[in-house]
Structures are given as structure tokens and as C-alpha cells.
Amino acid sequence: EAGVVQSPRYKIIEKKQPVAFWCNPISGHNTLYWYLQNLGQGPELLIRYENEEAVDDSQLPKDRFSAERLKGVDSTLKIQPAELGDSAVYLCASSLDRRTEAFFGQGTRLTVV
């Protein structure tokens, strides 16, 4: 069974440019998460989806970040415009539901220069 797939693996952009990340969760997983991981830190939740509904986006900086999960499957996370401080690894994860363990993708390493 395929795991969580994220693309791209790496992205380098100039500040003020837009960037988007894509995630395909494990088939049948209703819950999808986007996490941010800074160097030397644990992952921090940005947003959680139950099917296509964003049910917890309190940690998402809404002035520049947006996310969507069309048809309750794939998801995209967008940053516009990117800032130097956005350089980090963006992790997507999915689980059967919010009470079970989450499975992570390999992440997208973003570098803003």
C-alpha cells in the first residue's frame, strides 16, 4: 500500500514569491494534517482536515498561508508571499480518524532566499 506522497521534495524560492505544496494521503484516510517542522524542533500542527472540512486551522497564519482539500482526498498548502522565516520542512500526514496514529509523508523542504 502506498504511503503519504508529497511533492515537491525540495523547493527554493525568492522571498515574496508564492509557493505551493501537494499531498496525496493514504487511501481511505479521512483525516489529513499539515505540519511545520523547524530545525531542531518537533513538528507543529498547521491545519487538520476531516474529509474536506478544515476543523482546526488555529495555528495557520492566515494572512499568507492557505490550504484546501478538494473532494476530501488530495490537499495543497500555499504560501503567498513567502518570507525568509518560512524556510522549514512542511510535512503532510494522514490517519483513519483523529484518534489513531498519523502516517507522515517525506516532507517538502522549503528554502526562502
Binding site: 518537533g42 513538528p43 500542527l45 483523529r98 507522515f104
Partner: protein, 115 residues
């Protein structure tokens, strides 16, 4: 304020010996605790979990212990193998409302297995 704390940034253990990774939490509302393992340039991989109604869960070489009164859990790896060298994250989950609905992670402990 960190709700899940891993106070040892790194731990070095000789191959074949026991590795003990520790984790403390502050929020008594957490219902479920998990350990993840992470290799460089990869996402975290689920390792083992424990419900708050239990005090021990074992899976092969890995055992997790939970002490609710002390708000402390630990991961034991016996015997330690070179492939166990990785960063280990402790994470906690709250079933009911009142906090973040996703996993809350600690900062991780880098385990190094010495030959």
C-alpha cells in the same frame, strides 16, 4: 509553553545495550501517547503507542511505559541496534476538545548507537 517535553537532545548507547528515551507532559487531558522515529530527510515513522488507560505496551524490542501520576513516559529499546540511530519524537493526542486536535510533539531526542 511546551506541553510535551523531551529534555535530552541526544543520547549515546552502546550496541546491544538498552536505550531509554524519556518524555514528560504537562496536560493531563492527553489520552494517547505515541513515539515516532525519524531518519534524516525522511518523514517521521510511527513506532509504538500507548493509551492512557494502560501503563505498558510492548512490541518486539520496543516497550513504552506510562506513569500517569508523574506525567511521564519512556521508550525502552532492547537490545539496541545500529539501525536504531535516529531522532525519536514523543507525541501526545487529546481525544476531546480543549486543545490542539492534532498530535503535540516534543522536540525529539537524537539516539546514537555506538558499535
Amino acid at each position: 509553553d511546551q506541553q510535551v517535553k523531551q529534555n535530552s537532545p541526544s543520547l549515546s548507547v552502546q550496541e546491544g545495550r538498552i536505550s531509554i528515551l524519556n518524555c514528560d507532559y504537562t496536560n493531563s487531558m492527553f489520552d494517547y501517547f505515541l513515539w515516532y522515529k525519524k531518519y534524516p530527510a525522511e518523514g517521521p515513522t510511527f513506532l509504538i503507542s500507548i493509551s492512557s488507560i494502560k501503563d505498558k505496551n510492548e512490541d518486539g524490542r520496543f516497550t513504552v511505559f506510562l506513569n500517569k501520576s508523574a506525567k511521564h513516559l519512556s521508550l525502552h529499546i532492547v537490545p539496541s541496534q545500529p539501525g536504531d540511530s535516529a531522532v525519536y519524537f514523543c507525541a501526545a493526542l487529546m481525544y476531546s476538545g480543549g486543545g490542539a486536535d492534532g498530535l503535540t510533539f516534543g522536540k525529539g531526542t537524537h539516539l546514537i548507537i555506538q558499535p
